[in-house]
Structure formats: C-alpha cells, structure tokens
C-alpha cells in the first residue's frame, strides 16, 4: 500500500501600510490600510476568500462526503484565522465544518507565522502555545504534528519537536540535502528517538502548485488521470503533497481548471487499490522510519535556494530582523497587550520576504508576492513602524 498525504498551508499576514516618517509618534495603527491598494488587508482577505478559501473548502467538504476514504491536513497561521474571524466569518465556519468531519488533521505552527525559532526560542514557544490554544478554541483539536514557517527546518527543530511530544515535523524534501534518500519514506530527525520527519515531494507538489497552468510546460494540460498515474508509479511508502491552499483559485485561477482537477483526483485515485489517503499522523503511525536525516543547516521550501536567504539575504532584511527581536525584553516588560500584539505582528515572515532583493533585478516570483512597489519601500514602511513602536515602548517604560 502507498499513501497520498495532502497538506495545505493557509496564511495571510498583516501587511504594514505605507507608514511614513511623519506618522511616527502620531499613528499607532500599522496595519489598517483602507486604500484600494494591495496593502489593504481586509480587501486582500475578502478577495482571496471569494476566489479560493470559500469555493475550495466547499468543494473539499463535498469531496469528503463523496469519498469516505479521503483525508487531508491543514496548517493555519493564527494571523490568518484572526483576519477571517473579523473580515470573512464564513471562511471560519466552513473550516469548522470541514474539520468536524474528523478526517482533516490540523498541524501546529507559530501563531504569527514568524521566524522566531531562529531568533528567540522562548518567544517561539509562546507563539506555538498561542496557536495551539486558538486551534483548540476554534476547531476543538490539538495539533500533534508540527510545521515551522515556510517549512523551515534544521536538526534542532527536530529535537524540539521530539522533546515537546509531537509525533513529527514536516519539511522540504530537497535532494541536494537528501542525497540518495527518497522523500517518499518516513525518516527520523537526527538525534531523536520518537519524532518523525515527513518530506515534501517537491516535484509532484509543484506540478500542481506552480506548473499546473503553465503552457510552456511539456505536460500541460495536467489531468487528474495523468497525475494519478504519476502518483501510482512513484516508488516508496508515501507521496507528500505539500502546498499553499491558495493554489486553488488564487495562484491557479478557476479558469485554469484547478477545481475540476481537485474534484476529479480522489475519484481517479479510488480506481487504484494500491493507493490510499493518509494524514501526517496516520502516515507516521503506519510506516516505519527508514533512516535518520541530518540537516544541520536551515532548509525551507522557498525558491531554488531552499534556504532562509529569501528572508535574511540582504543587510536591510537582517537589520530589520535584528531590530524587531532586540525589543523582546522591553516589550514583555511593558505589560501592554496592544504593544505586544503589534510587536508580534511585525514578526510575520512576509515582512522580510517583501524586502528580498535576491532576484529583484530580474523580476520574478518575489515581485508577484509583494504588495509594495519595491523591496526598499517595504523596508522603509517597516522600519518607520518599528520606530513608532520603540517610541511607545520608551513612553511605557517612563511611566511607572
């Protein structure tokens, strides 16, 4: 038997508005853009909900009804769920309904979709705890498998996951690191006993997430039958298909046929008795670990480098990260909930991604995912907001 393991990531950051020097000391709201621009968080969430979250989730609910053997898993960032609660409660209701089927696993992550693991372990743990509480409150389940922001991973995260009682952790199955190892097996993180490592099959995942509508691709158009065939001939115990949930309807628009593909896939797979669906926990419970995987350096699922350089590659990204985490002690001591919340929202990884200049000159994927005119504009707005946060902190610490 071979299993197909779907995991969909749901995330929306609080984008910082065009916050200028003149706003420092005068305006405490960093995320409330009300313009027609793509910095307007409400507008973006409403748009993506209409195009993706609502139709995709309705379809999944229907598919789970039609196919009793079907399983999927999700990870939701806390900041995304918060925005759905405020702007598009229908999305929350649909997710509740979906998860209530009992056949959808919800994974653990940081509430703020942050890189805190690499900058402050205590803050990371607080954000994971806050996320866990939110998942319990909304969906009544307890995450048992973990995924860190952007599937970032290295050995010490494996150890942390192991020590904290998770069954396992997800990351990228990048072959320059895996060497001869196939991502289609379960592994053990280096230095752990109980935890397991699940690796994204990036070729098959990206066939859907990135290449599905690409007419330059020799396999276009991708039918459910063809894809099911590829899954069928893949060697190993499990094919991990990890992707952004926005793939359905937002990255790949409805007119590409992506919803039809999703609808058709379980039906076609059902015809192959050698394949079933499993959630990450079920995969870990079913298949033995084949080997230990050693990843001393950080791996992510981003771009062709598969490392953190899309967030930390240039001096302005590094200085912004250093600046936000340098405030930790002061923020915690300030005992001001709004301040703490703003500080944490500013940790969301997207802010640093928007400042990426790696392939800026060539114009590519980063430009598509950034709501700012340039990485420099992103940095300027961010640093100005941070400057205001510092002023608020100084005020707090002066008043007893």
């Amino acid at each position: 038997m071979k299993s197909v393991c779907f995991y969909f990531q749901v995330h929306q950051p609080y984008r910082v508005k065009r916050y200028r020097v003149f706003d420092i000391g005068n305006d405490n709201e960093y995320f409330n853009d009300r313009s027609e621009s793509s910095l307007n968080n409400r507008r973006i969430v409403e748009k993506v909900a209409q195009k993706s979250y609502i139709p995709a989730t309705k379809l999944l609910i229907e598919l789970l009804k039609r196919h009793p053997e079907m399983r999927v898993s999700f990870s939701f960032s806390g900041v995304a769920l918060e925005q759905f609660e405020h702007y598009t409660p229908e999305v929350i209701d649909l997710f509740k309904k979906l998860i209530a089927t009992g056949r959808v696993e919800v994974l653990g992550e940081t509430y703020y979709h942050s890189l805190a693991f690499f900058y402050s372990r205590p803050e990371f743990e607080r954000q994971v705890a806050k996320h866990r509480d939110t998942i319990r409150r909304l969906f009544g389940v307890w995450p048992r498998v973990f995924r860190n922001t952007e599937l970032s991973y290295r050995n010490d995260l494996g150890e942390w996951v192991d020590k904290n009682g998770y069954l396992g952790v997800l990351t990228e199955g990048w072959d320059p690191i895996l060497g001869w190892k196939s991502p289609n097996y379960v592994y053990r993180p280096k230095g752990t006993q109980n935890a397991r490592l699940l690796l994204k099959n990036y070729r098959l995942s990206d066939d859907v997430a990135f290449r599905f509508s690409s007419r330059d691709w020799s396999e276009w158009p991708l039918s459910a039958e063809k894809f099911a065939h590829w899954l069928g001939i893949a060697e190993g115990d499990v094919v991990n298909l990890f992707m952004d949930y926005e793939t359905f309807g937002e990255h790949q628009w409805e007119d590409t046929g992506i919803f039809h593909f999703l609808e058709k896939l379980p039906e076609v797979l059902a015809q192959n008795p050698g394949i079933d669906f499993k959630t990450p926990s079920e995969v870990i419970g079913t298949y033995d670990a084949r080997d230990e995987v050693d990843m001393p350096h950080t791996v992510t699922w981003a771009d062709t480098d598969r490392d953190l350089t899309a967030w930390t590659g240039n001096p302005m990204q590094r200085s912004a990260l250093d600046a936000i985490y340098a405030l930790e002690d002061k923020v915690l001591l300030a005992n001001d909930l709004k301040l703490l919340e703003d500080w944490r929202r500013l940790q969301t990884s997207d802010h640093f991604y928007y400042m990426c200049t790696k392939w800026f000159s060539d114009g590519d994927v980063h430009a598509y995912f950034s709501p700012y005119e340039s990485p420099y504009d992103a940095h300027i707005a961010y640093m100005n907001a941070l400057q205001d946060l510092k002023l608020r902190l100084d005020k707090r610490s002066r008043t007893p």
């Binding site: 003149f22 240039n314 302005m316 912004a320 000159s361 114009g363 420099y376 940095h379 300027i380």
Partner: protein
Amino acid sequence: MLKFLWGCALLYTSVMKLKILMFGWEFPPHNSGGLGVACQGLTRAMAARGLEIVFVMPKKLDVGAPWARFVFADQGNVSVRAVNSPLKPYITGFSYTNALTRVGIYGRDLFAEVMRYAQLGGSIAEEESFDIIYAHDWLSFGAGMEAKKATGKPLIVHVHATEFDRCGGPMGVNPDVYAVERAGMEAADRVIAVSQFTKDVIVKYYGIPASKIYVVHNGVDDTTLPRGGAAGRLRLASLKASGYSVVLFLGRITLQKGPDYFLKTARAVLARNPKVIFLLSGSGDMERQMMDMAASFGISDRVLFTGFLTGQDRNEVYSAADLFIMPSVSEPFGITALEAMKFGTPTLVSKQSGAAEAVKNALKTDFWDVDEMTNQILSVIAHKGLRDTLSENGKHEAARFTWDDAAQKVENVLQGIV
C-alpha cells in the same frame, strides 16, 4: 578561381564595417553635461566595435578657419573634425547672443548660427565618404538633414533630450526649437531614444510613429567616469566625521533638474534631522535663485553650492554622499544616477526619468512629492541596512550598463537600414 574571388567578395561585404558621419558634441572634460559624456561613451564603444566614424563637432577655433581636423591618439577609428562654431549643448537664444564676441564669422543669433552650422555640415558631407549620417540632439539635426540632402545617405537622429524636457513640460516650449526637432525626427530614417520615457514623449508630442523609434539606454563605465580618485578638496570627510550625513544634487541648476524640489525637501528633512548637509553641485540659470531660496528657508548653513565640478572633485562628492538625488522634472535618462550607483552611493531618482525605468535598485518618487522624498531621505539616513543594500545592489546593477551594450544596440539599428 572565379568562384574563389566571388567568395572573397562575399566575405568582404559581410565583414565590411559601416562608416558613419556623426554630428556630436565635445567630450569631457570640455563638456557641460551628460550629452558630452554620452557622445564620448558611445563613439568610443562604436569605434571599438570596428565602426569607422568621422566625428564632427562645433568648436570655437582661435583661427578664422571654418573648420579644423583633429587627431586624437586614443580614438582609433575616429577622426574628428571641428567646425568653427560657438554652439554648445544646452545653449539658449539668450545665452548665445550674450556670449557672442566675434560677429562676422558666426550667425547673429542662435538660429542663424544653427542654420550656418547646418550648411557647413552639408559641405563636410560632400567631402567625406560614409554610409550613414548620425546626429545627436536638435542643435545638430539641421546639419544631419543638410548632409542627407547633399548625399542621399540615411539619417539617424539620437534624442538625448527634447524641448519638453528642457522646459519641464509642454508649457513654454520654444516653437522654433520644436520645429527643428520635429523636422529632424521626421527626416530621420530611424530615431534612437535614450529611454522608453523619451520614446513616449516623441510619439506623443512629435507625432513620430513608434515603429521607427528604438530605445537604447545609456551606459556608464570607467571610460566615461571621472578619473583620478577623490581629491578631498571639498573637505567633506571632516563634515562626515562630525556626524553629518551628506545628500547630493549633481546636475545643471535649471528648471528641468528640479533643484527647487531638492531645496524644499531639504527644508523638510532638516526640520526633523538637522545633522544633514545638502550639496548642490553644478551651475545653471537658477543658481542665484536657489541661493536666495535656501536663505529664505533659513537653511543656508546646511546647503553648500559647489559650482560645476569635474574630475576628482566630482568623485569626491559622489563617494562622500550618503544619498544621491536626481529630482528631475523631466529627465530623458540621467547618467548621473548610474554614475552615483557605480560609486556605491545610494540613489533616489524621480519617476519622471529614464533612469527610473532602467534601474531597480534605486529609490523612486515623483519629483513633486516632497513628503515622500523626505520620508525616503530620512529613512536612508537612519537605517544602515537600507543604505548598505542600496549600495551593494546599486553598484552591481550599474555595472551592467555598458557603452558597449549601447553601441551594439545602435549598430543593430544601423545594420537594419543599409
């Protein structure tokens, strides 16, 4: 044997290099702006590609002769002919008449002189042998047209700026200048524009079909950068050592370049951060007015006027500056932006410039948006990470703009019409 000869002839035609009669402008250090730099960069790179060039330029000669032939040791395939004329880039009717000292040889006003220069251009064309005529900007379009009339050879005009740029928009455009520009572009077989920005102006205001306009961005390389390191004569290092940041404007102090927006921004920046020095480097018809403006803003002690700089002094201001600003109201390209980036100096350009379309690793604002410019300047001064990223990436990006690239694009256009 016959077959062999035929083969040789074919080979000869395929490697035969074009010979160009080029009407251009004096090279640095005798230039007064980007046009001379562009002429030098492009001519050298075209010559290096094997194109033969007879370079004709106006030059005030000490003798009464109508022209002289110069030999430049380092110019290779370029022979230079100077036509005795006081024409200079950026000249205006007023400044021409003012500078006119010797009546008799030269035209009595600018247009008479442009006509005279055009006719001399026609007679030079009859003496020289060449395949293509090439003219840089409107003051030489007349000469290019005369040369075409005399020989029937194809004409290329290279537009580095239009009257709309010099006037900062359609207001105040000189109809005589406009007429010469338009006639030159209409007579030309191909028009080369220094940017898409300029191409759009040419299509919109001159009615030239887009299909005959080719965009060739300028370059910047060591051949046209000032040489000899930074002299330190301006003592900017000591200012910086005492904690001042330096923001630089470098260009003609004239309406087109937006020096008034530079000063308005300076006032706004200084209201929030007094440890900034604003350098206005260049000369021009608004210099006096800008000094008065700085005084009326009460910021004279933070605004330094350096005058027109060349060589090492120019290097010093580029490398000392924490930020270079080009707030042009209408800038066909803006080579200075590339120069600054090449020095690793963070750069801010107005969106109304060719440079804004050409480079990514520079800050960009509308020239009139004093608030946004202030926001960006204060950010650059406050955040080292931003400065370092702009510097590193800008330097890297500017290195990709070479005159050889520009010359190759020009050569492709030339090959297309012979």
